[in-house]
């Protein structure tokens, strides 16, 4: 049954093509339903392939379906082929599953938008690209998907392109990602130059023979690509801006699926990472944990409902890279899946809030919404508990798994990674509680002007307020619950967020479904930790307690108003990192570009025109000789005769 794997990307592709041609005719909501059906069909196809793989023996759960030769050039053989194995199918399941829910949600969210069909054209193209990314049987097909999702991200961020800020955000996302893609490309070149192949199967087989330096270089170049796509330090700056896109896009692309592409990639190439130097994974772990921490600190001081979630996503992705770095691939994928559930839920919930608030995104103008938006509030609260790490919700288990492996990786480094991860967990519980309390609890502040609550309003996040389905009118806001197309996905995702941990419960080995499932792909390089059961319990309980502490502190600050909020402007300004880059690009960067352009126009071309001018002037001078007066010619001839005579006479005597 695995040979129908091509059907998984083919259905969204078909949806894309049909909508491209007939989208306008289908209109609203037909186009949306068609796109949802295409994505849903893809989900069913994935289930079929999944069942097929389940039926196989564990070691033979991997099959490559080659469609056609793409670039056969000399030694380079690149096919368009799909690899159906536990990792790719696990990815495909949650991509198409969550994707279908978000498609459905979008039918409600995008209601009334003039470009309703176009939205679904892009959405199906995105799902197709994302599936290429995870199903590709070689680095290059993955790269096609990688760039494809980047393109869709660009198109969807700048979906409401009449606003310059949205257009800029889209461009920023694309260009920043291209910096990462540079690393990805170089990794492909290096893999081909040294192993003569870009095929995953052959790479895994040959990785062991790679020299350490080469394997390290390939792995870290791929990781550079991953820091772009998965928004890690130093390339994370595009993701907060990407919130300019419609909220379903943020949920699907910028939380659940695309941004996990980097984690997927590193998991996929785990044999290469294992063949590199020991410090290569450490680099990944440190980048991950530092990103997780820094992003969490920024999230503490954001007032835009989506910006909080954006930084939270960066932070959670940091956890996944921490997991990859300490060799906990299963935990990385586990957290990727639970995160897809609860973060998609939170984004869709925030979308529902924004929808209900008529486009308002500033949390300072919300409050008390649980009364008017009960479904949204209830589901959002489930998502909040999941991400905050409150047992028994899914996020607790997946995050705990990562922290456990960090602890277990041993040495001072392991403790340090664990400690930073733990502090981040505390911050996560705190900022998410802050968000929930500001939005759903307390007194309604729907009609209050923002300026009253903080002076930093204008400065905070720059483009914070703009970007959704229309500017928030400061007039009358009448929050309301969203239509069923939006609430049904919320409920489904809430259930998944609550019980998603069942795919890999830690209590007994029998419950490690995900670990067993992924074993053929990552088993060989998965870290084995030796931590006593008692310590495990202590760590888990400690993490849970810390989550509660975070929630309680936030409650004291934002619910009871007992403590003044600490929202330093350095955090509101995201450590000034993005602003510094923007300033550099706008200042010295632009000046350098201008200098090069000036050099071209004045020095290079100037030399050309200079030569031309020289010839022209010279010609003009010489023209004077051709005066047409016989007497001046005669003079010239006589002068010449004299000179020649003088010359010959001189020669006679010298």
């Amino acid at each position: 049954m695995t040979d129908v794997v091509w059907l998984i990307p083919a259905l969204p592709l078909a949806g894309f093509l049909v909508l491209l041609v007939a989208g306008r005719r289908l209109g609203e909501p037909g186009a949306g339903w068609l796109a949802t059906a295409a994505c849903g069909g893809s989900f069913l196809a994935t289930l079929v392939v999944y069942a097929g793989l389940l039926g196989e023996e564990e070691h033979s759960r991997s099959s490559v379906t080659t469609l056609f030769e793409w670039m056969p050039v000399g030694d380079l053989q690149v096919d368009v082929g799909f690899l159906a194995d536990p990792l790719s199918i696990a990815m495909a399941l949650f991509i198409t599953g969550v994707g279908t829910l978000i498609h459905l949600y979008s039918i409600g969210y995008m209601h009334g938008d003039a470009d309703f069909p176009k939205f679904f054209v892009y959405l199906n193209l995105f799902v197709f690209s994302m599936l290429l990314l995870v199903l590709g049987s070689n680095l290059l097909v993955t790269f096609v998907g990688w760039e494809g999702v980047g393109l869709c991200s660009y198109l969807l961020i700048s979906f409401w392109f009449t606003d310059e800020a949205n257009a800029s955000a889209g461009k920023k996302a694309f260009v920043t990602n291209r910096v990462g893609d540079w690393g990805f490309l170089l990794a492909i070149f290096l893999a081909f130059a040294t192993l003569g192949t870009v095929d995953y199967g052959e790479l895994a087989a040959g990785a062991g023979e790679l020299a350490g330096v080469t394997a390290t270089a390939i792995a870290l170049l791929l990781f550079l690509g991953a820091t772009g796509k998965s928004a890690q330090i130093p390339l994370y700056i595009w993701l907060p801006d990407a919130m300019a896109g419609p909220t379903p896009v943020s949920a699907l692309i910028h939380a659940a699926t695309m941004v996990t592409g980097g984690v997927f990639l590193m998991t996929r190439v785990n044999p290469i990472l294992a063949a590199g130097y020991d410090w290569a994974p450490d680099v990944i772990a440190w980048v991950g944990v530092v990103t997780a921490f820094v992003a969490a600190t920024i999230a503490v001081a954001q007032n835009d409902i989506k910006k909080v979630l954006a930084y939270s996503t960066i932070s959670q992705l940091g956890y996944m890279f921490l997991a990859v770095g300490v060799g906990a691939y299963v935990a990385a994928v586990f957290h990727m899946i639970t995160h897809a559930f609860f973060k998609a839920l939170l984004f869709l919930g925030s979308g529902s809030v924004i929808h209900g608030m008529g486009g308002e995104q500033d949390m300072r103008r919300m409050g008390g919404l649980r009364k008017v938006m009960p479904v949204t509030a209830a589901t959002f609260i489930v998502g909040w508990l999941a991400i905050a790490g409150v047992p028994p919700f899914s996020g607790f288990f997946s995050k705990d798994e990562i922290l456990l492996y960090a602890w277990g990786s041993g040495g001072a480094q392991g403790r340090a990674l664990w400690a930073i991860g733990l502090v981040t967990a505390l911050l996560t519980a705190y900022y998410m509680s802050r968000q929930v309390f500001m939005v759903f609890f307390g007194e309604p502040r729907w009609d209050e002007p923002v300026a009253a609550s903080a002076g930093a309003a204008a400065a905070d996040g720059g483009e914070a307020g703009d970007g959704t389905a229309g500017e928030a009118g400061h007039a009358e806001v009448r929050p309301h619950e969203s239509p069923w197309q939006m609430t049904v996905p919320l409920v489904v995702l809430a259930v998944l967020s609550a019980v998603g941990e069942v795919i890999n419960l830690p209590f007994t080995d029998d419950l490690h479904f995900l670990e067993r499932w992924l074993h053929p792909v990552v088993g060989a390089n998965e870290a084995h930790i030796d931590v006593a059961t008692g310590t495990k319990w202590a760590l888990a309980v400690g993490a849970a307690v810390l989550a509660l502490v975070g929630i309680l502190v936030a409650a004291a600050v934002y619910l009871r108003r007992r403590v003044r909020a600490v929202e330093p402007s350095v955090l509101a300004h995201a450590w000034y990192y993005d602003e510094a880059i923007t300033r550099f690009a706008g200042g010295p960067g632009t000046r350098f570009f201008e200098a090069v352009a000036w050099f071209d126009a004045h020095v290079v071309d100037g030399a050309v025109n200079g030569v031309a001018a020289l010839v022209r002037t010279g010609g003009r001078r010489l023209r004077a000789v051709q005066s047409g007066f016989v007497r001046s010619y005669a003079l010239g001839i006589s002068a010449g005769v004299v000179v020649l005579l003088g010359y010959f006479i001189a020669r006679l005597y010298v």
């Binding site: 793409w70 096609v144 700048s158 009449t162 260009v175 130059a193 192993l195 350490g212 570009f593």
Partner: protein, 590 residues
């Protein structure tokens, strides 16, 4: 007589009933003549004749493509006729996998350029010049005789000069003159090079003949020669005819570079000759720093002129570097390859940076050509299968995407009477289909996987990574810059709120769509399934690489060495390739 001659006869392809390559050159030339004969007043008829002639040429090219035998390395459809026999100049034409697609691209772009834009005035000379231009371009790509090549190369200049000067925009006279003088400057070197090549080749053959005759006589030691030997001696004593035949000169390897010294005075003839050719082609490509004619010529030319200039004329340079650089003087080419590759990479980065700062949309596209052509030169002088094929493919890709971009910019300019980026705004709101088409073409130019540009760029980079690692690393950064300048331009022109001036911007018409459709189809097709093109190029490219390897120090890199350093690799060509291994050395030393 000369063993190399045999090589040129291996075109085993059954000769078609008629000489299709000569027909390809003659059909547009005759079309030009017909246009001249049509009365000036009959504008529609003029256009009809021009379209017909271009379409007929296109049909011939498609037939050529269909009849071209896959897997054949040599020249096909070859014809060798005496032309100016006193000087050994022949009408020698043929195509192989290297020139085939350039011929097809040329024959495809001309009808599109003619249909895609109408002249503002004087249609008669306009169409006549365009068709003559087509004849010249096709002549360049099929010529296998140095002299014929030169004639065609120069013929191209004249119509383009008049097209820019006669139908161009504001600063057209300056641009046309600059274009003409720049190219002439290069051509002079090439003319000297061509004549010198032919004479040096003859001298070398004469020397070889004399030596062989001496040898035979010495062996005889006064004895009576056999009739066979006698015939051979007579043959060797006969006058050696002058020849300009590219294949003969290249394959006989009479002009070789045997200089060991780096002192320029000691350079042997091949290096000087290579330089003479390379200067002419470098101007045409154009390579940094002789590129400044390009932005002016592209910007001031009428739309059809820009399309052809970018789509076809620049390829005369890259094709020339390949056929008359690498093929004719492999050793010298290998010697100068680092220089050319460096200039190419400078072009990639520099062109992109300058493009980003342009205020005129057309000028921006023009500068993007500098960057794109840099990739082609990089791939060509990587001298790997991937690099060369990527470069050749990139020739086609650039012709399609930049050709389409110039058409689109021309449409914008026709509608708005300005190309200033600052004057354009929010066009996506009023012309979504136009914007969508522009987006696809732009993405092709950026090198988005799935579209044609990526395949070419990727192959160039992966191919050059094998032999010119650090150049490839820098060049790959050009991928970032391309996204930067094109997306920025797109944002300024198409995004944002549409203002009063741009509100009336008309949507893409069906006629315009029909002109662009074949380009779009090819952009997608070549991105998804480039194999039909690649498999036709492969044998010719492999043969060229073998030719270079056999006649120079160049050693093809070995792929898949897992980073181990082979012990005996110390020559110049392999040194770059061994970098992968060099890293290990350091490691082993630990």
């Amino acid at each position: 007589m000369i063993p190399g001659l045999l090589a040129s006869q291996n075109a085993g392809h059954s000769a078609p009933g008629f000489d299709v390559l000569t027909a390809l050159v003659l059909v547009p030339a005759v079309g030009a003549l017909l246009v001249v004969l049509v009365p000036r007043a009959r504008a529609e008829l003029l256009r009809g004749v021009a379209v017909l002639a271009a379409a007929a040429t296109g049909a011939l090219a498609l037939w050529l493509l269909a009849a071209f035998e896959v897997g054949e390395a040599g020249y096909q459809f070859e014809t060798n006729r005496e032309w100016i026999s006193d000087f050994g100049i022949a009408w020698h034409v043929g195509v192989d996998g290297i020139s085939l697609f350039l011929v097809v691209l040329t024959a495809l772009l001309f009808p599109i350029a003619i249909l895609g834009a109408t002249p503002a005035h004087d249609p008669k000379p306009y169409y006549a010049w365009l068709l003559l231009l087509e004849a010249g371009c096709l002549g360049v790509f099929v010529a296998l005789d140095l002299f014929m090549f030169f004639v065609m190369f120069e013929i191209v200049l004249v119509p383009m000069y008049f097209l820019i000067g006669g139908w161009g925009y504001g600063n057209r006279v300056y641009a046309a003159l600059k274009f003409f003088l720049f190219t002439m400057f290069g051509s002079i070197f090439m003319l000297v090079g061509i004549v010198a090549t032919a004479f040096l080749h003859r001298d070398a053959v004469e020397d070889a003949n004399r030596a062989e005759r001496q040898e035979i006589l010495a062996e005889l030691e006064g004895e009576e020669p056999t009739p066979a030997e006698e015939a051979r001696i007579a043959e060797l004593e006969a006058d050696v005819p002058l020849t300009f035949d590219v294949v003969e000169i290249a394959e006989s390897r009479t002009i070789v570079d045997d200089s060991e010294s780096a002192n320029p005075v000691d350079w042997s003839a091949a290096r000087w000759l290579f330089l003479a050719f390379a200067i002419a082609f470098a101007v045409k490509v154009p390579l940094f720093p002789v590129h400044t004619w390009l932005p002016d010529a592209h910007t001031e030319a009428p739309t059809a002129g820009s399309v052809i200039l970018a789509g076809v004329l620049l390829k005369l340079g890259t094709y020339g570097l390949l056929r008359f650089g690498l093929y004719l003087f492999p050793d010298a080419a290998n010697f100068f390859a680092p220089t050319l590759v460096t200039l190419g990479v400078i072009g990639i980065i520099y062109g992109a940076i300058v493009a980003a700062m342009q205020r005129d949309l057309k000028r921006l596209v023009a500068y993007s050509s500098v960057a794109h052509l840099g990739f082609i030169v990089l791939g060509t002088f990587a001298i790997t299968s991937q690099g060369l094929q990527g470069g050749l493919l990139q020739n086609i890709n650039h012709g399609l995407s930049t050709g389409a971009l110039f058409l689109l910019v021309g449409m914008i300019s026709d509608r708005r009477h300005t190309r200033e980026i600052a004057a354009l705004r929010g066009l996506q709101k009023v012309a979504p289909v136009f914007a969508a088409v522009f987006t696809v073409v732009m993405l092709s130019s950026i090198g988005l996987p799935g579209l044609n540009g990526f395949v070419g760029e990727f192959l160039v980079l992966v191919g050059s990574f094998l032999t010119r690692r650090w150049w490839a690393v820098v060049a790959a950064a050009g991928v970032i810059l391309a996204a930067l300048y094109l997306l920025w331009a797109y944002q300024r022109v198409f995004h944002g709120e549409v203002d009063e001036d741009n509100r009336g911007f008309a949507e893409l018409t069906w006629r315009e769509g029909a002109v662009l459709a074949p380009l779009l189809a090819l952009i997608v097709f070549l991105g998804v399934y480039p194999k039909p093109v690649l498999e036709r190029m492969q044998p010719a490219v492999d043969r060229l690489i073998e030719h270079v390897e056999g006649n120079s120090d160049f050693v093809s890199p070995e792929v898949g060495r897992r980073g181990e350093q082979p012990a005996d690799e110390d020559d110049a060509g392999g040194a770059e390739a061994a970098d992968a291994g060099a890293d290990e050395h350091a490691e082993a030393g630990k």
